[in-house]
Subunit: 251 residues, 2 copies
């Protein structure tokens, strides 16, 4: 009746390269370690693996920095090319202070450096951007897995976020397919029979945080399978996780 939740890391994935079929690589690694997908499994995939497969990796030599990017580079200590990619990825700059840039990505996520990353990028001068459309990336992986295995799963793409008010980073969702990112308890009754007013749980974020616990930044484990979490199949979009400015009282 009360089944445990399992979070299973998928070991043995190779370094991902542009053009790789990530779904097939995941399935091959899973099979090699006797991990078989079940209907209702949730795959949480690190953004960097997805971005690399989609060729969202830029070399410094191939990026031309605008004068504004050069100004930002002088301020942050990053390279002009890095700041150029941050600007191209951004809808707006939320804050610049202490040499750091917090920006809102074109998708609407608020992240340090708009999610542009140079750690684990595969070389000193290489930089990885978020997928252009992470929900579409998640759908692609989900559909490929269903086509190959016949299993209906959900796929969530996760990335690492700093947070206001709280120290330390956590993994949260940037792309989703196969389920809603938010579980809505509004209108249901609590244990006392009172209607609950405002409880909408961002389960996609919680699933990414759970997956991070087995993924580890310094080991190569960009994929986890979460088994035992019940959800209703739905298309889903991470747009539902982005607050509109006006409703954001927590800022």
């Amino acid at each position: 009746m009360h089944k445990p939740l399992l979070v299973l890391p998928v070991p043995g994935l190779p370094e991902i390269r542009a053009g790789d079929d990530l779904a097939r690589l995941i399935l091959a690694s899973a099979a090699k370690h006797r991990l078989r997908l079940h209907d209702g499994d949730i795959l949480v995939v690190a953004q960097k693996a997805v971005s690399k497969a989609e060729g969202r990796v830029y070399d410094r030599a191939g990026v031309e920095a605008t004068p504004f990017a050069r100004e930002m580079a002088a301020y942050t200590g990053h390279t002009p090319e890095y700041m150029e990619l941050v600007l191209r990825s951004s809808r707006r700059i939320v804050r610049m202070a202490n040499g750091l840039v917090i920006a809102q990505t074109r998708h609407g996520f608020v992240m340090a450096n708009s999610g542009v990353d140079s750690s684990n990028a595969g070389g000193e001068d290489r930089m990885v951007l978020l997928p252009e459309d992470p929900d579409a990336s998640a759908r692609g992986i989900r559909d490929a897995i269903e086509a190959v295995t016949g299993r209906t799963v959900a796929v969530i793409i996760s990335d690492t976020f700093g947070r206001p008010w709280r120290r330390g980073q956590v993994n949260l969702a940037v792309g989703i397919a196969g389920m809603e990112p938010i579980l809505d308890y509004r209108g249901r009754e609590d244990n006392d029979g009172r209607t609950m007013k405002a409880t909408r749980i961002a389960v996609a974020d919680e699933l990414c945080s759970a997956a991070e616990l087995v993924s580890g930044k310094t080991r190569r484990l960009p994929v986890a399978i979460i088994r035992g979490y019940r959800f209703d199949p739905a298309p889903g979009t991470t747009e539902d996780l982005v607050r509109d400015e006006e409703s954001d009282l927590f800022k």
Copy 2:
């Protein structure tokens, strides 16, 4: 080598009352369902169960509201007594808008209504406050479990938080004992051999989010055991999760 993470709900806990020995109730429920604690297990306990055991439940009839609490009540639509408890729990008001109050608790956490809650409180006019010292609450449970079972575990007390920038709530840590809330990767090398600069993961928050997935707001499952997450034993304090104002660029 790559062990799964297990998140096990502890079923069958009774409604918690002031003075209850929560550690013993948890152990009794676990034993009844053949759940035995292991060394290195992490118990995630919902704040409300801890607060109820500690008698942090107030009845409207026993609370006298100040004039300012009455003003706030008119603004928010809550009762004056509820707003009085919010004020008593707060270090400062972060924002008041749209009939909502975001406040910083005396411990430093930024939460809607300073974490004062009237859902699942055990009655229409009852309100539950956060524990006075949630780290001490966690230590008490941890020590009692060690005394009874001889097992060394970590205990995290979790509560539900709204977040800036992102829709939906997630469970995060408000108390901890037996481990550090943040895992610090700074200085370690990434897969390319570069020193990682700024990766500090708030694992206590991720563990609370993982536990929420099996806890469910409308079922009575306030405790989860997380097994398979390796950590170094340490005293730990959730003070490390509270950002100081000056360093908070994400706001």
